[in-house]
Symmetry: C2
Subunit: 479 residues, 2 copies
């Protein structure tokens, strides 16, 4: 059963499993104690710290273990901001950071700090020049991920680190997604990562704070982990995490595997748009994580798609709003300005079989077709954009469709993604070239997906105006 | 090799080990995901939560898992205080709480809250009447441990919970030390505990917040654990922790074992003072944890004592200042007003062999004697208190000893515990009955141990006055 969601959590690496078992017997005691069981634990902890520091590219005394990558980010952001309080209270982060960075930023803003967001381009990448321009004198900290967790795009971390260093501002790098593939280069000041992303067990994050970085840990502290992460050390898990990281890095296997997975991902990137109509593959095609690719399918309900793929034996994730408990689609896809409906993220674990990828490519077209059929969307041909009514479904349009002086109004109020876009696609064929379709929608995803649809179908997105409920999105037919 | 420090960390319970191994394979994926691996993880997590809630005596939706007992306390105290902010900002806790409560209280005080401490008697117990008197209208939260981690004394939690309920103030119970032995009775509002104290793996704490308790989680949050504990769930460890707790509780084994260990501890409590001269066994002899006992040995350096016991094969811990990296002795022993030097805490793990306890009782007298001999203290007879110079060591007294109008002055500046008390014991024989010995000391432990010594040796502790360096402690010879 192929599991293609390594970016959420990778299965435990066999080396990690072995190390965990051994250290359950050797590393359960309190490493602060003077007796033999405590000393043994301390030795294990020290060795794990050395191994992790080597993999990260820092000194062992610069690195602490935390209970999760999330807590590493929370502690790193809060401690760096407090340490730089005299310099200013402005936090600068990219618009596509992991939610742990956004949550830490919210707490900072609630406490009176300011937060500024760096925009990304359509591939999800920050421009280093934008960082340079945004480095105001009161900037206390910059947070930039090494690579994006949803679309795989790598950020120009080394360049940004240099700019930050010149400006005397610390850079915190969330390396959760990339550390399995190698250390983060450059003069970053803080780095956070999460072991269960690289085949370590859950329960281990790491936070590196390079010497010379002002850092004032926040919240209640104890004597553990240099006062930077409170609570009894989880030595067996830490030992296992370090062992897995070292195993990934030792020998040429990691590089070979990165090359192999990169080729498999390239295959997915090329073939999915050939096999499935109306698909947008997103993220940078070259400057990206080796194992991760994301695409979005027009006129598809993300939750149903995931469910059908699961039934077909494939475990993948999605940034569509229809799959989560919130009504908001992925902030990453929104910041990139790309389609969020029918979104699928594939992240291949180490050792993924080529045959499993091939089988996925065989299965996907049928699954997407069946989901579209259930939504009343015609398959195997462009759904909209032609002069005829291609894409108009056999069933009746949703809500009231009224012809107005300026065109057709589609009432999709109360309907969730992907219905508003499907209705738009049906209606566009009903207006002449130059005419407009106005979609009324209170679904948050429409704000993102209607402009994205226009880009994909070469229609003109006129804009959005307020409506009694939700918003009115206006599209002009080009051809 | 007998390990007698279960109160720090208990070895992994075999059932926990088995459950951990099984769930490493079944529970590594993200339980928030919709695919089969995620659903499997969710099922494991839900089952663990039900089992833990049953053992705690709360509803499953009242209980969240945290990465440690420490973090459960930190989150519980902060969330309860914030939830009650309108009622007041006063935190009331006993003077003998675990450091995690004290650290949370420090953060509260630093943020402008007020903190009041409840005194304990010489056994370490809070008087419920004192709580009633201290429940001012602006009290937002009371924190009281179920049983003390250093001396084993049980607190009147059920009675205090009732008082709190009447006053409409929530009670947070730190049950870290007692949960292995049974649920905490009474109408508490919040409860925190730590799995590695009951034979679960490290990396798991639990926080129960009963319905109706105002609670506002602090710090960055995510969607995990009802927004009360951020970071990827550690399902294998949580499953193992719940399995161990259930195993301890099922059948009559737990009660039988509690009775057996209680008898072994009674044996230690009775025999240690018979075997070793100048020992004080502390804590409540009856209302106590079954497996824990603490005693302090006069004229003994705690670090050397622990080291020698370790060499003899016994792993124990100590609240003496000379064993920790700080210069302050245990705040618990200080609050009780008992001796801190030469302190030994024994906490027997489940299944401790009677023969190991017997061997400890055989070994201890010789170990204490050898430590005293190295410090130049005569053994096998009262060291001070007789009219002659019993206790005066063969080597020279430390520092300058000057006769002053009011008696003898002992300069122990720069010397650490237990030297100031040893020098006092030597000097008391040099003054006539009614004369005084003044000890100059800058060791924090002297403040606690000189009065405690006076109590043990029936000498009069006159008081303390400021000195150029440290303090001057005045003792009057009684007999």
């Amino acid at each position: 059963m192929p599991y293609f969601d390594a970016a959420s959590a990778a299965p435990l690496h066999p080396v990690a499993r072995e190390a965990l078992l051994a250290s359950l017997d050797e590393g359960w005691a309190d490493p602060a104690r003077l007796y033999r069981e405590g000393r043994r634990g301390r030795l294990l902890l020290d060795a794990a710290r050395e191994a992790a520091a080597e993999a990260v590219g820092c000194r062992p005394d610069e690195l602490v273990f935390t209970p999760s990558g999330t807590q590493a980010v929370h502690a790193g952001v809060a401690g760096a901001l407090a340490g730089r309080r005299r310099a200013g209270r402005r936090l600068l982060h990219s618009a596509v950071e992991h939610s742990s960075v956004l949550h830490a930023a919210e707490v900072h803003a609630a406490a009176g700090g300011t937060v500024a967001e760096l925009a990304v381009d359509r591939t999800g990448r920050v421009a280093a020049g934008d960082v340079a321009a945004a480095l105001t004198p009161d900037t206390a900290l910059v947070a930039l991920q090494s690579a994006n967790h949803e679309v795989g795009t790598e950020q120009p971390v080394e360049e940004v680190a240099e700019l930050c260093q010149e400006a005397g501002v610390p850079l915190l790098v969330d390396a959760a997604q990339s550390l399995a593939w190698g250390p983060v280069p450059g003069a970053w000041s803080l780095l956070a990562a999460s072991a269960h992303k690289w085949g370590g067990p859950p329960g281990v994050g790491l936070l590196a704070v390079r010497k010379g970085t002002r850092f004032a840990p926040q919240g209640p502290r104890d004597e553990r982990e240099a006062g930077r992460s409170a609570g009894f050390e989880n030595i067996p898990a830490v030992v296992a995490a370090a062992a897995a990281l070292r195993a990934l890095r030792s020998g040429p296997a990691a590089d070979t595997e990165a090359v192999r997975l990169r080729e498999l991902v390239d295959r997915i990137r090329t073939r999915v748009p050939e096999l499935v109509p109306d698909v947008e593959v997103v993220g940078d095609p070259v400057r990206r994580l080796p194992h991760l690719v994301t695409f979005s399918c027009l006129y598809v309900d993300g939750e149903t798609l995931l469910h059908e793929l699961d039934r077909a034996g494939f475990s993948v994730s999605s940034g569509s709003s229809c799959t989560s408990s919130t009504l908001t689609p992925s902030h990453v896809l929104r910041a990139m300005g790309v389609l969020s409906e029918g979104n699928v993220r594939i992240s291949l674990p180490y050792g993924t079989a080529e045959a499993d990828v091939e089988r996925f490519l065989e299965v996907l077209p049928g699954v997407v077709r069946s989901v579209r059929e259930r939504l009343g969307v015609r398959v195997a041909e462009p759904v909209a954009g032609a002069a005829d009514t291609a894409g108009a479904a056999p069933r009746e349009p949703v809500g009231a469709v009224a012809e107005e002086p300026e065109g057709v109004v589609v009432d999709a109020l109360g309907r969730r993604c992907p219905i508003p876009v499907i209705e738009l696609a049906k209606a566009i064929g009903q207006v002449p070239v130059g005419g407009t379709v106005t979609v009324l929608s209170d679904d948050e995803a429409a704000r993102q997906d209607i402009p994205a649809w226009c880009g994909m179908r070469d229609q003109e997105y006129v804009g959005e105006r307020a409506a009694e409920r939700g918003a009115a999105y206006v599209v002009r037919r080009r051809a």
